[in-house]
């Protein structure tokens, strides 16, 4: 078959999806495009937005927990350090007392 016949066969007219006329008439009434398959796109966009929001919230919570854990660790280190200082001062005091007693 000649290329021209192949082209005629390949380019046979196609009908749009059912309800095309109704979508055009609706658009004439409403004044904006009436999508044929927009519902799944909206659902996909909504799902992506929700997933993004959930991830952002989760990330914020993780960060908050890490900050709290860091603050608690810092507080614990400060307490430990303070207690160690007190113990050290007592040891030094005891050491000084012993030295004075032995000296006298």
């Amino acid at each position: 078959m000649d290329i021209e016949e192949h082209l005629r066969a390949a380019l046979a007219p196609r009908q749009p999806r059912p309800g095309f006329d109704e979508r055009v008439m609706t658009r004439l009434r409403v004044g904006k495009p009436v999508p044929v398959r927009r519902s799944w796109r909206i659902a996909a966009a909504l799902a992506a937005t929700l997933a993004g929001a959930a991830f952002a919230l989760h990330w914020q919570l993780v960060q908050q927990r890490e900050r709290q854990a860091g603050q608690q660790l810092l507080l614990a280190l400060q307490i430990t350090s303070s207690e160690l200082n007190q113990v050290q001062q007592k040891l030094v005091h005891l050491d000084t007392t012993h030295a004075q007693e032995n000296g006298s």
């Binding site: 192949h6 066969a9 390949a10 380019l11 046979a12 007219p13 196609r14 055009v24 999508p35």
Partner: protein
């Protein structure tokens, strides 16, 4: 299948649609929707884009009914409008890279059998794919010639193009298509 109605009916629908008869406008729409949608589909390669573009054309038609004298004028107006809208859109798209849509190559559902009945389905897919590689003007010329069966002189009028340019696009595009198909046949 496209609704085949006597021209007298279409003239009556056009007259009634011009005075605001929505049912008559719907009849015109049904009579021409396959023509307009198919050109948009072959141009864009995507059903959703073709649907949107075809809707745009019919909305524009609704506003232009008063300018259309008869069914022949209506058909000419539709072909001209959809072709120019397609060419404009394609030129905009060609400014940015895009992937070849798979919908453009496939038989696209319900009408696949009818289009491929006369030939090899793979050949049809290949030709539709090759058509998408053509520049906007030659693509429009080929579509109007082989989908709408217009003569080169009619194509020249629809596309506002010199007749010799139409003939040149036709000849070069067909030569290129033959080369591509021959290359396929001689491939490994």
């Amino acid at each position: 299948m496209e609704a085949v109605e006597p021209e007298a009916d279409e003239a009556a629908w056009l007259r009634r649609a011009r005075i605001g008869d929505a049912a008559a406008f719907r009849e015109l729409l049904l009579a021409h929707q396959a023509r307009v949608f198919s050109i948009a589909l072959r141009f864009t390669g995507r059903r959703a884009d073709a649907e949107e573009l075809a809707q745009d054309v019919f909305v524009q038609l609704h506003g232009a009914l008063g300018q259309l004298a008869d069914p022949a004028h209506l058909k000419h107006w539709l072909l001209r409008t959809v072709s120019h809208r397609c060419i404009d859109r394609l030129r905009q798209q060609q400014r940015r890279p895009r992937l070849l849509p798979i919908e453009a190559l496939q038989g696209a559902g319900e009408a696949a059998a009818s289009s491929d009945a006369q030939g090899d389905p793979l050949a049809g897919m290949r030709l539709r794919g090759l058509l998408l590689q053509l520049a906007p003007d030659p693509r429009a010329v080929l579509l109007l010639r082989f989908q709408e069966d217009l003569d080169p002189s009619d194509i020249a009028v629809v596309l506002d193009m010199p007749l010799n340019t139409v003939k040149s696009h036709l000849r070069r595009s067909l030569d290129w298509l033959r080369e591509q198909v021959a290359g396929d046949n001689h491939g490994y």
